[in-house]
Structure formats: structure tokens, C-alpha cells
């Protein structure tokens, strides 16, 4: 069956609550601030928000239902999307369908987490039931060790070198230089990258995101509603979502995108050459390199060559993670799954926080989440375009 287009539903009003390294505030506080910012800037009343989608790791034991009471919302459409790095695109595609169907008129999509001094460790230990049995006893519960195993396997398989990952990280740092709330805003040199202290070989310091507190949010509504609110909006050309793809791969060397990539581009009626910038999910640079392959920008295994033959800064041949990504801005928990999407909305409406990608008319945003054992389980992507 032909999938229905997202015609008529748009995303608008990208909101970022500036990140902080640590926060004594709760996740509820961060999410509430993001919701408030949406309402204030849209000129809406609370009761106009009739749909609410929320993503957070540290909001427990609250669920989306509990949050409606905290925030004074009475939505008729509600979703809780605890999918980590896949949260943003999953929220977008669900909310767009709800709006198209008339189940909701204005959906607030909000993601955020706090970062107490010990909250990152708590999040890790509750990621999955299996993790505790199968990995924790070996000092390998964190994403660092899982991604070190994945990175080593990828390097052995396809000849990627640390210098290739450096190029991704350094370009993102360049892109982050003008982002006010970026956690890391000091220029990164190849020397600094290469000589950084090892965390879990071959992962070194600048391959890792900095956990922090923050929130990201946007609205999904009908195009006419966005117009009546005077909010510049973006169109959703296509989306894909997949969980636990390729369970028989001995270790992750591709993501679920590979299963659905044909559909993503055909539904969008575009090819990889037609997009003006790309936001990948970058909790580690190896996964961005895999996304270049699995999303169709180069052949499988050609990621290292692709990186060597492109410039990845906003003024380059392949503008990538245009606000600096999580590797420079920081990872505010589940908000990391919104970061690329919110930045893409800014680029496509010519309201960048940092530098503007020239002729930014179409883009691809991808998400990836929920690292367990030796792979990330969730993958998703969206092709987005400037409003006509």
C-alpha cells in the first residue's frame, strides 16, 4: 500500500532551552520551561495545545499523563516516546499523522533531561533489563564500551582511521563556534583530537558527548494554523522508523536505515544529491559515518572515503550537523534526539542560531537510539523541506 504523504501537516517554532553542564532542577522543570517557551512565542493559551508528546530519561516515575497535571494541559492526544536519539523524528511523524487525521490541532513535542551529578549513571543502569544481567558485571554498561567495540569492528572492516573520525568532530566544532549554548566552543585541532586521553580504546575524549541538562521542543500543526500564528514552518516530505533491525548481525555495522532507505527517498521524491545539509545522530562519530552509508550518501564501507573527499562544515561540500551536533553542543539526554531536527527547522526557515547553510531548501535528519549490548536498537530519518 502506498503510504500517505504528510501534506497539510507542518512543523514550526523550534525552541531550545540553553543547556547547562549540571542542573539541580528536575527534568519536569526543564520540560515545563520548553512548553512555556512554545506557548509564549506562538502567542497561544495553554488550552490551545491539544496534543502533547514528551521524551525524557530522567522524568520518572512520571509519565506523559502525570506531566499533563504538572503543566496544566488537558490534551486529547498524548504520547510518551522514551526512545532516546530516535525520539525527535518519532514524535514528528506521530504528531503529523495525528494532525492530518484531526485527532489534534496543535501538538507540542518536547524533550528534555536534567543532569544531576549522578543522573547519567542512573540513566545508564536503567536503559534495559538485559543490560544488567549481560553487560554490567563486566564494567561495560555504558555506551562508551559498547561503542568502542562497534568502532573497533567498523575500523577493522572498512579501514576507517581515527583521523577520519577527527574530521567529523573538528567540522562539527567549527559549526558550533557561533552557537551560544554549546558546551564545547573551543576550536578543536587534529593534534588535540589525536592526543586526547583514551576513554575506551579506540574511543578517545573528543569522540564522546558531554552529558548535560537542557530541553528542545517544536510544534506540529496544520499549515493554515501555522500561517494564522505567523510561524514560519517546514514541510515533511518523508519519514522512516525501524527498531531492532538486523538482529543476526554479529555486531552493529549498519543501522535500520538500510532497510527503509529506498522508501525514504522515493516518498520524498528526492535523491541524496538533492539535500542541502544533513543532520545525523552523533553520539559517537562512527555512527555518523555509518549513517552516511546507510542513508544513501555513499556505498556501504565507503564512509571513510566519503569523509576524506568532503568538507563537512556549513560552508562545505557536505554541511553536516550544522549546529555542532551533540559532540559539541552536548547531550541533554533525550533532547539529543531533538537537536538535529530543531536545528534543521531553523536552517530551513532561515533563523539559525549560528551560521546559515547557503541555499538551505531541503535536508535529511536522522535519529538513532537505545544502545544495548553491542548495538543501537532504534533508527529513523526524515526528509524535510522549506515551505513553498
Amino acid at each position: 500500500m502506498q503510504r500517505k504523504s504528510y501534506e497539510g501537516a507542518v512543523a514550526c517554532l523550534p525552541v531550545t532551552i540553553p543547556y547547562r553542564r549540571y542542573s539541580t532542577n528536575s527534568a519536569q522543570w526543564w520540560l515545563g520551561r520548553a512548553l512555556h517557551e512554545l506557548i509564549k512565542r506562538a502567542g497561544l493559551r495553554l488550552k490551545d495545545i491539544d496534543g502533547f508528546a514528551v521524551s525524557s530519561f530522567t522524568v520518572g516515575p512520571d509519565t506523559a499523563v502525570g506531566l499533563t497535571q504538572h503543566f496544566g494541559l488537558s490534551p486529547r492526544w498524548l504520547d510518551h516516546i522514551p526512545f532516546g536519539g530516535a525520539s525527535g523524528i518519532v514524535a514528528l511523524r506521530r504528531a503529523a499523522r495525528a494532525v492530518q487525521a484531526g485527532d489534534a490541532d496543535i501538538v507540542a513535542c518536547v524533550a528534555g533531561d536534567t543532569n544531576h551529578v549522578d543522573s547519567f549513571r542512573k540513566t545508564l543502569s536503567t536503559f534495559s533489563r538485559f543490560a544488567q544481567d549481560a553487560v554490567y558485571p563486566y564494567g561495560s554498561g555504558g555506551a562508551n564500551a559498547s561503542f568502542a567495540l562497534i568502532t573497533k569492528h567498523y575500523m577493522n572492516s572498512y579501514g576507517a582511521k581515527r583521523e577520519d573520525f577527527a574530521k567529523i568532530c573538528i567540522a562539527q566544532r567549527d559549526n558550533a563556534m557561533s552557537i551560544p549554548h554549546a558546551m564545547m566552543k573551543k576550536k578543536l585541532t587534529l593534534d588535540e583530537y589525536m592526543s586526547a586521553r583514551p576513554i575506551a580504546d579506540p574511543i578517545h575524549l573528543f569522540d564522546c558527548v558531554m552529558p548535560c541538562a537542557g530541553a528542545e521542543a517544536f510544534l506540529v500543526c496544520r499549515e493554515d494554523v501555522a500561517k494564522s500564528l505567523n510561524l514560519p514552518s517546514i514541510r515533511i516530505l518523508s519519514t522512516i522508523e525501524r527498531h531492532n533491525a538486523f538482529p543476526n548481525d554479529p555486531m552493529q555495522i549498519r543501522g535500520g536505515w538500510e532497510l527503509d532507505i529506498g522508501e525514504l527517498w522515493s516518498m520524498a521524491a528526492l535523491t541524496p544529491k538533492d539535500v542541502d545539509f544533513v543532520q545525523t545522530y552523533d553520539d559517537y562519530p562512527v555512527i555518523s559515518m555509518m549513517q552516511f552509508e546507510d542513508l544513501g550518501f555513499c556505498a556501504k564501507g565507503a564512509g571513510p572515503d566519503f569523509v576524506r573527499s568532503h568538507t563537512l562544515t556549513n560552508d562545505g561540500t557536505f554541511p553536516h550537523n550544522t549546529s555542532g551536533g551533540q559532540l559539541s553542543v552536548g547531550q541533554a539526554g533525550a533532547a539529543g534526539g531533538f537537536l538535529g531536527l530543531v536545528e534543521a527547522m531553523r536552517q530551513l526557515t532561515s533563523q539559525p542560531l549560528g551560521s546559515q547553510v547557503p541555499n538551505a531548501n531541503a535536508c535529511l535528519v536522522s535519529g538513532f537510539g537505545m544502545i544495548n549490548y553491542d548495538r543501537g536498537l532504534s533508527s529513523c530519518a526524515a526528509v524535510l523541506a522549506r515551505a513553498a
Binding site: D133, Y136, G139, L149, H153, N156, I199, A200, D201
Partner: protein, 145 residues
Amino acid sequence: MSKALNDTLGVKRAIKHFDFSEPYWEGTKQKKLVIQYCKATGKYQHFPRPVSIFTGRRRDIEWREVSGKGVVFSYTVAQRGTPAFRGLEPYAVVSVTLDVGVNFIANIVNCTAAELKVGMKVKPYWHPLDDGTHLLMFQPDNGPA
């Protein structure tokens, strides 16, 4: 790079067991590695799951003892461990392809950083825990096959 690797044997481990992984832990009491096997498809799976991941059925699962021998598929040397492992860095985490074809993540002992390589042969090392179970680790397998 012939640096010594720490063995992590001194880490206090409180391991939570789930109902569907109990036969695994029972086996370790006798230093036996038993892992899940799907009778319907003839395939092994690790780590323990509530059902066969090949058919979705619980009744297709049986537990089979395997040798625990294998080869290193990928590895990392942790320089900043998870909280319980702080101070023991560097220690190695390896993913081993068991001779029945599934990967198993664990620590490796009796091995230097220089020896540790993708493709190296390993065999089980059973580390006793307070509750009578053993934690499977690996060690280099230099003996005859």
C-alpha cells in the same frame, strides 16, 4: 603497548537475575556455560531472552551446554570504567564469538594489552561470586584444540 591489563576480579558484583535467565546462572554454579538454543530453527541466542528471537515462541527454547571456547571478535580497553570499576582501569572488555556462532561480551584475564587481538583464541575463565554462581570471563587459549 605491552602494558598490563587489570583483571577486575576484585569488583564487588551484585547481579540481578531475571526469571528467564535463571538457567544460565544455575549452570554457572557448576562452571557450565549453558545458552539458549532454538529447537525450531537450530540457532543459538545470547544473551538470555524470554522467547526464541527466531520464532517468538517460548517453547522452542532449550538450554544447551557449550564449550565456551571462541575467538575475539572485537575488544576495547576501558580507561575510564563504569562506577564500580573505577580505579581498575585499564581493563579489557571483549566480544567473543563462541564456537556455536554467537557473540558474548565479557572481561578477559591473564592477557596483556599486547597479546589482545581480534581473532585470538580464548577459553572460559570462571570467576566465583558470593552467591555460589560464577561469572564467565575469558582467557587466552594457547593449548591444543
